[in-house]
């Protein structure tokens, strides 16, 4: 059962006037597929991703994850839902200072009540695919933007969660690393993970199974 958005609307007020960031959006993030949303900055992509992960409540519309209407649930239940089901790669740097890359990768699993199987093999596989072996003992302050991004991708994947929502996952990566990330996403999708990426990157979008564009809050299938 996938992540479904039905007629979702989110409005903001900016300098006294309201504008619609997400305008009547209906779509599905299917398991085993990579879904990409492309669009310019400010088109509402990130807001939509935050709504789907239960972090922003929409004014109208319905979001269900595995059949559960997430905004009918309490804040705590939505927290638990993210901990148990959704790995998130945010747009900005999201590593916790004072913890090494290795500890940051382990962090996601700290929040899940139900600890899913994540073997040493899967850890090595993810770390190897993202070329992080030599960076595991490094602290965020000693990493470049691209390295931090790869660590946060590893963290979102290591939890072995059902869905992955990634905001500009290849944003700070070179072509080589972007390719590695997308290939890893493909492997994960093939294992059954439902992946949603929000991106400017044409190359990344080309590797997706379903591609949408977003403009002025409206979502359109390409």
């Amino acid at each position: 059962m996938p992540v479904v958005s039905e007629n979702v609307v989110k409005e903001y007020k900016r300098r006294g006037t309201s504008f619609t960031a997400v305008d009547d959006v209906s779509f599905t993030v299917e398991e085993g597929k990579i879904t990409a949303i492309m669009g310019r900055s400010g088109s509402g992509k990130s807001t939509l991703l935050n709504i789907l992960s239960g972090m922003i409540k929409p004014e109208r519309g319905l979001v269900t994850i595995d059949g559960k209407k997430i905004f009918d649930e309490s804040v705590r239940s939505r927290d638990r839902l993210r901990a148990e089901k959704i790995g998130i790669v945010p747009q900005t740097h999201s590593l916790v200072s004072g913890l090494t890359s290795y500890e940051n990768i382990l962090l996601q699993k700290s929040f899940a009540l139900e600890k899913k199987e994540s073997s040493e093999d899967s850890f090595s596989e993810i770390v190897g695919a993202l070329d992080l072996k030599d960076l595991l003992d490094a602290y965020p302050g000693n990493l470049s933007g691209g390295e931090m991004k790869r660590v946060s991708i590893a963290r979102a994947l290591f939890g072995n969660l059902k869905y992955l929502f990634a905001d500009e996952p290849t944003g700070e990566l070179d072509k080589d690393n972007s390719k590695k990330v997308m290939e890893l996403f493909r492997t994960e999708a093939d294992k059954g993970k439902g992946i949603l990426i929000v991106t400017h990157d044409k190359l990344a979008a080309d590797m997706a199974d379903i591609v949408y564009t977003m403009e002025n809050g409206k979502l359109r299938l390409l």
């Binding site: 935050n50 992960s53 927290d79």
Partner: protein
């Protein structure tokens, strides 16, 4: 990873933003530890004084009452003389149990004397005040004619002390009392006669200034009489009866002890007031410090929330960090307090001018534990307030603020 693992890693790597709060915890812990040690040191000293006084009444020459207190409390050198003929008079007063004369002679701050201190002569035939306090380890070695040194008196390599150009062997040492008695030297009347004779050559007279022969001066002059009262008799009444029959002043141990306890009460009140004030002010200040440090880490809270960390989880992390910072600050404060208090305890005891006796290791450990408890307690409220503040903020607000 568990909350405490994350908290300790953040603290270890200096990433909690709590350096100033940590510093305040050190200050609070230092104050509480040093303050409580000082209060218990003078309290134990007072207890020792009560036991050590031995006599219920001291009969001294008129006008010398406060000097007598100075000897007992601080070991301040004093000299005074009193005709010994009153010993029999005092002994005959109803209710008097024991009487023993003492002589006070101050040594000089000069090359003839090892140390400028109070030398106290006692009469071995009647003494019930000094010799019972000889340390067990010296009891067998002590022989009449040797000096008895107070616990704080430093002797030379040969275990001797020199007074008025003559060297004496130290035959015994008194148990530590934490009072002025630790800073005095005790001699029998035989030795005291020799000292008085030597002192006269240095221009210090005792008793009758014109007396040519000091060989038996202790039979004519002493400095004071120490009196114990029979059970069932009122010390006040016996003291009054003595004053009526002897032209001297009396100092009652209970009034001396009361002077000390008044001093202790004053110091204890000051310590309590400072501790309470520090506790309240540091608790309030650290509320703001912790709110500030929590405010600077909004992005981090957003990351935890994004991964599914609940509000309670964040509150738990902030609270754990706050308490851990308080605990570590407390430990450092205690270490600093110990580094300053113990090496300088003699200096402190001179400054407070009250009986002063360091507590034993159990007392010190309990004081340290109490300081840790108080310091950690002061972190509870700031920890909850700061944790609540971060946990209350909506997830998306945190993410947006964290991006700024």
């Amino acid at each position: 990873m568990r909350i405490k693992d994350i908290a300790f890693k953040k603290i270890k790597n200096g990433k909690t933003g709590g350096a100033v709060a940590f510093l305040f915890a050190i200050i609070l812990s230092f104050t509480v530890f040093a303050g409580m040690l000082l209060a218990s040191s003078i309290s134990i000293g007072a207890g020792n004084l009560k036991q050590r006084l031995g006599a219920d009444i001291a009969v001294v020459p008129k006008g010398q009452e406060s000097n007598y207190q100075g000897i007992i409390l601080n070991g301040e050198p004093v000299e005074c003389s009193f005709e010994r003929k009153y010993e029999g008079v005092i002994r005959s007063v109803e209710g008097v149990d024991k009487v023993t004369p003492v002589i006070y002679l101050a040594s000089l701050n000069a090359s003839c004397c090892s140390v400028p201190i109070q030398i106290i002569g006692y009469d071995p035939k009647t003494d019930f005040v000094t010799t019972p306090w000889i340390s067990d380890e010296f009891v067998d070695k002590f022989s009449d004619g040797n000096l008895i040194a107070g616990n704080n008196i430093a002797v030379d390599d040969e275990n001797t002390l020199t007074f008025f150009g003559r060297t004496y062997e130290v035959g015994a040492r008194l148990n530590k009392t934490g009072t002025g008695m630790d800073k005095s030297v005790y001699v029998s009347f035989d030795v005291m006669e020799q000292l008085i004779s030597d002192a006269k050559e240095k221009g210090i007279s005792f008793g009758d200034e014109n007396a040519g022969d000091t060989a038996s001066i202790t039979e004519e002059y002493v400095s004071a009489f120490l009196v114990s009262v029979k059970e069932g008799y009122s010390v006040d009444n016996v003291a009054g009866n003595i004053m009526r029959q002897v032209p001297g002043g009396v100092v009652q141990s209970k009034s001396l002890y009361k002077t000390v306890t008044n001093g202790i009460a004053l110091i204890s009140d000051i310590i309590k007031t400072i501790t309470y004030a520090m506790f309240i002010s540091i608790t309030l200040v650290t509320v703001f410090l912790h709110l500030y440090r929590v405010g600077t880490r909004k992005k981090e809270w957003a990351i935890y929330r994004m991964m599914g960390g609940s509000r309670n989880w964040i509150l738990g992390l902030i609270f754990t960090e706050t308490i851990a910072l308080s605990f570590l600050g407390a430990v450092v404060g205690i270490a600093l307090g110990a580094l300053i208090y113990f090496p300088f305890s003699n200096l402190i005891s001179q400054q407070v001018k009250l009986p002063f006796y360091l507590p034993g290791i159990t007392g010190i450990i309990l004081t340290a534990l109490a300081s840790i408890a108080v310091t950690m307690l002061s972190g509870v409220l700031p920890g909850i307030i700061a944790g609540e503040s971060a946990a209350r903020t909506e997830c998306y607000e945190l993410m947006r603020e964290g991006e700024n």
